[in-house]
Symmetry: C2
Subunit: 299 residues, 2 copies
């Protein structure tokens, strides 16, 4: 039994497939498979059930996984205690919601690269639900997602909050003193698709205002959403910073409402039991740079 075998066990058990796990441990699928078989032989019993299309954990595997994680965690502690200057090398995969991606994601990446020049970084921008799923599958190492995950296999720590305001093209906003349920009659909502973090904010407002927009246009990019609002397609939510910038240039009007839009709390998400110091590194850089502030997007 070796630590490498246990690492392979952990990733193979928690990733969507052996191929994903193989990437994590920098091995080919073939070698990973063999490494797992070696472990099973040394333990005297199978950890995976290979009868189906994809390998699943046996009862024994299920039972031993948390203990393997504990052991790997100890090993990392030991390495840390030895002061191993582990410049995490290789590649990491981070995910980000779109709003974060157009505000402070560049700062995150900059901090990360400054601290660890060896690290090659691959970024996935998507809506929160998709990112969470990719984290679970093992496709991502960490992600910035709005809200706090309910998935037991993931953990998160709070980062920063984004605030939003209702906006419309100035011409279209002229007839709107304040936004309420009645205002939606004949008007179109411009927003992001379901599953994105803004959904929480929107649902909350709609519930309190007892409103129901007749028509909806959605796009998974804030830039496009802003563009649609600016071009008078409808009324929509924009991040405060972005809205102020557009308002300053006379492109949109910010609409008051007796119902306040909730803040959206972003959190750093990562796998519950990921024993790699890499995760700490990612988190540190992320926490240090996360701030929606009042600023608009960098573009």
């Amino acid at each position: 039994m070796t630590l490498k075998q246990l690492e392979a066990f952990y990733w193979a058990a928690t990733c969507a497939s052996f191929s994903t796990a193989a990437e994590r441990v920098h091995l080919t699928v073939s070698s990973l498979s063999k490494r797992l078989v070696e472990l099973e032989i040394s333990l005297g019993q199978p950890l995976f059930d290979r009868s189906g299309h994809r390998a699943t954990l046996t009862a024994a595997g299920e039972r031993l996984l948390p203990q393997a994680v504990e052991l790997l965690r100890r090993a990392e502690q030991f390495r840390a205690a030895a002061g191993v200057a582990e410049g995490p090398q290789g590649s990491c995969r981070i995910g980000s919601g779109e709003l974060a991606s157009i505000t402070w994601l560049p700062r995150w990446v900059t901090a990360l690269r400054e601290a660890h020049p060896q690290l090659s970084i691959s970024i996935t921008v998507d809506i929160g639900e998709a990112l969470a799923q990719r984290l679970e599958r093992g496709d991502l190492d960490a992600a910035v997602i709005a809200g706090r995950t309910a998935r037991p296999s993931l953990r998160c720590t709070p980062l920063a909050s984004a605030s939003f305001v209702w906006c419309a093209e100035p011409q279209l906003a002229r007839g709107l003193r304040s936004l309420d349920a009645a205002a939606w009659e004949g008007r179109t909502l411009v927003t992001l698709p379901r599953g994105s973090g803004i959904t929480y904010v929107l649902d909350d407002w709609m519930a309190r205002a007892k409103a129901q927009p007749e028509q909806t246009v959605s796009c998974n990019q804030w830039g496009v959403v802003a563009g649609l609002i600016v071009s008078g397609q409808g009324v929509g939510i924009l991040p405060t910073g972005l809205a102020r910038g557009l308002e300053h240039r006379g492109r949109v009007a910010v609409l008051p409402s007796r119902y306040k839009l909730r803040q959206l709390d972003y959190s750093f998400h990562f796998r519950n039991d990921d024993p790699r110091p890499l995760v700490q590194v990612l988190q540190r850089a992320c926490v240090a740079t996360a701030d929606f502030g009042a600023e608009g997007p960098f573009f």
Copy 2:
């Protein structure tokens, strides 16, 4: 960093020399040395100071050793949880005080061999102090020693108690109604050398009786002590079982005394932090068979 390297680290750090440690991990000294260097390289700092004649732990090594032990312990727990039927193979070295060696040591060895036929066993019989020292140096895996060790690097669990009686050759005993301080005038004490467990019993009795034998004859074997007593050389302590047997055959007389001889509690001794399941195996067999009972020696 591998588990094997950490094992090597543990043994090299806690044994008297690399050669002793090398035997423990079934390696040549040369290979052990290289394995340790590999670990030091992977940790980025030396664990041993080789400037002197013998390698000693550096400050870093001292600091990391307990953590390495903890890690190894976890690894063993994991193996155990996986139900690895580790028939401990190879050899083990056990130590035993002489009294245990002539009473139930054979039963211990029998139980051990029955449970683990693969195990080759090497036995060292010596006085307690010597055994404790050999345990510390890494020359022994476990030992049965009278009393409880004060050495912090060793641990022990109670086994069984031996009781003793004063004896003398019947002719010589005729003038002795009861043994007290006065009785020692002109008489010789026959006993085991200092450092053996019986020392505690003897010192205790002498202190309470305020006695001081004029002359002492000692030998490190109970059989010889008994022989000396039988041949009228002096008065001495014998294990109850042995004494009753000799009394039954009219070879000695048991001497009463108003001061009771203390029992001698034997304990199973082993290295504090030895992570090997072997130790548990040895202990189980030992506890199951340890019993001075009323029986005499097997010979």
